[in-house]
């Protein structure tokens, strides 16, 4: 394997999954990724726990001025993150495990049976800065997570690093939702 590496197995994801089952409303609070024009996530429900601030500027000049002082890698806790302490425990455990220097985006993505994330590669400026990890909260037979020519079997409780600079896609041909928490971490280099 050159695009995937399993860091851990049997992480205790049950408390977080139990919290998500109790809070089904959370999936509808932020549809930014799903609604992104022509994006690959149209069939995905997300709970965005950490994300960069978003802003709109009326003119190119205003945008340029904003960008001068804007660190696009700076992510902030979203209000929902405080309501899911079970997620923070997993995230900070992973930060510690990989010796993380900075915590980036954290999102929980759900793909229904028959759904998919279409093939795409993440933007180089983002993917070169961050290391992308997945904490698999729920996965069963029928899940395809492909990155180039590799598609390892991902099981509930697995923790994976993968190279999101390469073309990747996810197809859930399983009988249940596939739920995974994406954690971007700036690792030592």
């Amino acid at each position: 394997m050159k695009n995937f590496y399993r860091l851990s197995q049997n992480a205790n994801v049950i408390p977080l999954m139990a919290a998500l089952m109790r809070r089904a409303d959370l999936w509808q609070q932020n549809t930014y990724l799903r609604d992104y024009p022509q994006g690959p996530f149209g069939e995905v429900e997300s709970i965005i726990l950490r994300f960069p601030d978003r802003s709109v500027h009326e003119t190119q000049e205003a945008l340029a001025q904003h960008m001068e002082h804007f660190d696009q890698h700076e992510n902030h806790d979203q209000p929902v993150y405080k309501t899911l302490p079970e997620a923070r425990q997993l995230v900070m455990g992973l930060m510690s495990f990989v010796g993380g220097e900075r915590l980036g985006r954290v999102m929980i993505n759900k793909i229904k049976p028959g759904g998919r994330i279409y093939p795409h590669a993440d933007t180089p400026v983002h993917a070169n800065y961050w290391s992308r990890h997945h904490i698999v909260l729920q996965a069963g037979p029928g899940l395809v997570f492909r990155c180039e020519d590799e598609a390892p079997e991902m099981r509930t409780g697995d923790v994976w690093w993968f190279d999101n600079r390469q073309i990747h896609e996810v197809v859930n041909n399983g009988a249940d939702d596939r739920v995974s928490m994406v954690v971007d971490i700036r690792t030592p280099r």
Binding site: P113, P141, V144, D149, P152
Partner: protein, 151 residues
């Protein structure tokens, strides 16, 4: 939707065993003399040694087909990494469209990834899969004979 998956034989054995009886019933020879009784422990050992490929075909999570092959340097040609097909099966109700081709194209992709150089696959005369093998670019090279010697 049909998708293909590289999976663990050892971990999916129980699910595989739900398909094996119908596979046996359809294809096995001398069924009145030879019962289905695989040496699963040998398969598992080969898998643990990295010498087995188990690739499944799934529909909504359910296993509806599989390919099992052994990967090893050739006994006569140790510089030639070779895959020798053990068995493959697609459930009868899924033999429409391109299920078989999809299964074998995925096998080929994985074999190429593992740098396998030669791939052998067999077709039974009483259940001819030649069309499938030719479609993926394989050529016939041998006819295999059998003779029942048991009591």
């Amino acid at each position: 939707m049909l998708t293909t998956h590289i999976e663990s034989f050892e971990e999916r054995l129980a699910e595989l065993q739900t398909l094996l009886p119908e596979h046996y019933k359809e294809l096995a020879l001398n069924q009145d003399e030879v019962a289905l009784d695989p040496q699963y422990e040998v398969y598992i050992e080969r898998e643990r040694q990295g010498g087995l490929l188990f690739l499944t075909l799934r529909d909504s999570g359910a296993m509806v087909g599989y390919f099992i092959g052994f990967i090893a340097p050739g006994l006569h040609y140790k510089t030639c990494l070779t895959c020798t097909m053990d068995i493959f099966y697609v459930r009868k109700d899924k033999r429409t469209g391109s299920a078989g081709v999809r299964l074998f194209r995925s096998v080929e992709s994985e074999l190429r990834r593992r740098k396998v150089q030669r791939w052998f696959m067999g077709s039974k005369l009483h259940a001819d899969a030649s069309a499938l093998f030719k479609r993926i670019g394989a050529s016939p090279v041998e006819t295999y004979y059998t003779k029942w010697l048991g009591e």
